[in-house]
Symmetry: C2
């Protein structure tokens, strides 16, 4: 593998913007590399411009830090490839086997994220740098019963309420363990997936696995908020790490985990496979698409004017006496100010699993959102969307998962150790 | 879309190496842009170094030329994303509808490859540059009967012989029409796929569709031959455009098409979905993997020594009295000198369609190879591999297609016009 890279040096990735999270995301990487328990978000994220060409040369060389206060893959800028995979513990496997597995997984993640080979490396990623690889581990509701740890299960992991528009496939939902892999190179991401699956050995088997993607580094002339497969700018409204309450909304603060201190510095991930009914969507004329969203397709600006980052003017009426941003517009209903300030950090991948026999693509969004408490993040927003979102007619929630993602670890520690060995 | 790019200027892509085809591939692009019928391969491909960092800034801006002597997507450097899709003409659709479809498709391909929007653009690729998008069109054996053009069907399109190890799924094989899409951005590639499917309208329906990928630009510190999902360096033995007979082996020379002059400048594509049995493969120790291939995994050098590009020493024996490159080694059996100089230009994508219920990945190679005559390219090599290749135990040919890919077109012309309007 590459060998000209210092273990203690992380090249900041300025390449991509996750909504507007990029800057502090990079800051998080740098601090993680500096050694673990530093104050998150206090340095380096100076709103550095994302426009310098030189940064584009670091696609392969960019490295996300494994060690740090939070796991990587949450505020890390969006990568161009992603794998989501859930495992179930094998019959007979319990806390001991789970602890050993998380120890193996952590060692593999640490090595691969540093650009080093894994044990019995398959060679798939030889020649390539770590390419911003992140590996993020979480625990599902069912994990705790199977490991005799029910008393350690946080209330935040209680099952999500049912939503009327859900059409969930249980076989592709939930799971004891969840792993999110992201990288800016497809072979690096696949290599990590194979290595982690091999690590599972006899302790756990794959329950479901999904592949996703985002824009490539450098595909746009300057960094832009992502677009989804409907062509919409997607991610504008994400909370910004520069906001004073960002950390406490996204990461579990000390003492705020209802006695489950092992989740301090962690976050809860809601994962939804959201199929897009693209044939229906694309038949809709542009002006009707824009009314469904409440934003212009070209640049993501609110229909009430301005630029992508302008506030929605929810009280503005048109000449026809109707709100310019319709009552059922997706952006109105999901606006934080309409949801008691509910905040989640959306960090999705698009997916496309081919074209079905009826000619329609099996494509959409692997929605992944992060919050300190799903009952104050995803749930209230989804409740409102479920009732009145004009976008509902064009999407279908096909699978769902909720996972407790513990905080990051110091050197010598493995992810979940504070749960599994306490 | 991007608007600061001249219609007549193509930035050479130095980013990637298709085996060792890169340099003249780029030359092909440049000449194509210059206007069509120039002598292929005569300029620009001066073996330029692939190491300049600046080239990495052109991921989005790099443009392949639609017009030229050959269609793009054959000698174009490998892109990081690919879609293969086959269409069947709808019942009742014939030559007239096919001609209209190829006219629509050509217009869309020309626009999107230039970074312009398509008709009723979905906006999925807004903000992005063309990102080396190529769209390549071909005709299958069944196309000619359905359009009353059986007399124009070249003998080179006769069905491939059956191979003993084939396990072909007819539903994912062949097809009236074939389209190959490649791009260095996933949304650009998907955008093109949607646009072309929409263009098909009522004239044709999707028969099968597959997704593939390769390394990202910049993932390796310097340009390298690709690796496949077995971790092997793959593409070393590809014919080189600098070789004097490259053109006549890969592209149909004038007068060499058995009276089917519409194929002059065209090529035949053999497409195989080759599943890799990765669990079995990865259980094999490294030294046995290397004996299966006959090359070192680390750098692709022959087991008889040297570097990746060194000749195989097929007559060298080890201390054990056995050939150093075993008799059944993949590289020995597929070596051009063992096949009467049979040459094909392999230009594959890897695929990964998730992990099945048995825990094994549905992954492998979307093998695409190009030659002036499949009976002198793919067939003799595959016949030998089918009988004695040690790699056979680890792969499975699951689908197959053979397509006549006509030459490129001048401005105002559409792909296939010389067949459909003659």
């Amino acid at each position: 593998m590459t060998d000209d890279r210092s273990e203690n040096q992380v090249e900041l990735s300025r390449r991509r913007l996750l909504g507007t999270v990029g800057a502090a995301g990079a800051a998080g990487l740098a601090l993680g590399a500096a050694g673990g328990a530093g104050v998150y978000g206090a340095a380096a994220g100076s709103g550095a411009p994302y426009t310098d060409a030189k940064a584009l040369t670091t696609v392969g060389a960019t490295r996300a830090a494994f060690h740090g206060r939070h796991q990587a893959g949450i505020t890390t800028p969006l990568q161009s490839r992603g794998h989501l995979v859930a495992f179930d513990l094998s019959p007979g496997a319990g806390r001991k086997e789970a602890a050993a597995l998380l120890r193996r997984w952590s060692a593999t993640a640490r090595a691969l994220m540093a650009g080093e080979p894994s044990t019995d490396d398959t060679g798939i990623a030889l020649d390539a740098g770590p390419s911003s690889l992140t590996v993020t581990f979480g625990f599902g509701h069912s994990f705790f019963g199977r490991t005799g740890l029910s008393s350690r299960r946080p209330v935040q992991l209680d099952p999500l309420p049912a939503f009327s528009a859900d059409a969930l496939d249980p076989k592709r939902s939930e799971g004891d363990l969840w792993v999110q892999i992201g990288a800016d190179d497809a072979l690096v991401a696949f290599h990590a997936l194979r290595a982690l699956q091999k690590d599972a050995g006899t302790a756990a088997t794959v329950r479901w696995q999904m592949n996703g993607f985002n824009r490539s580094a450098g595909a746009t002339a300057k960094p832009m908020t992502a677009r989804n497969l409907m062509g919409q700018v997607d991610g504008t409204g994400n909370p910004k790490p520069s906001e004073p309450d960002f950390d406490q909304r996204i990461f579990v603060p000390r003492g705020a985990s209802g006695g489950q201190d092992w989740m301090t510095g962690g976050s809860y991930a809601v994962v939804r496979r959201i199929r897009m009914l693209l044939d229906d969507w694309e038949r809709l004329p542009l002006d009707r698409q824009e009314k469904v969203i409440g934003r212009r397709k070209s640049d993501g600006a609110p229909l009430t004017g301005g630029t992508e980052t302008s506030e929605l003017d929810l009280d503005r009426f048109g000449a026809d006496g109707k709100p310019v941003i319709p009552d059922n517009a997706h952006s109105r209903i999901s606006a934080p100010e309409q949801n008691g300030g509910a905040a989640m950090l959306r960090r999705p991948f698009s997916f496309h699993d081919g074209i079905g026999p009826d000619g329609t693509p099996d494509a959409g969004l692997l929605f992944v959102c992060w919050q300190a408490d799903p009952l104050r993040g995803f749930v209230p927003v989804q409740r409102k969307l479920d009732r009145g979102d004009a976008l509902s007619a064009f999407i279908r929630h096909e699978a769902s998962g909720l996972f407790a993602v513990p905080g990051g670890v110091a050197e010598g520690e493995y992810v979940g150790q504070r749960l599994l060995e306490a």
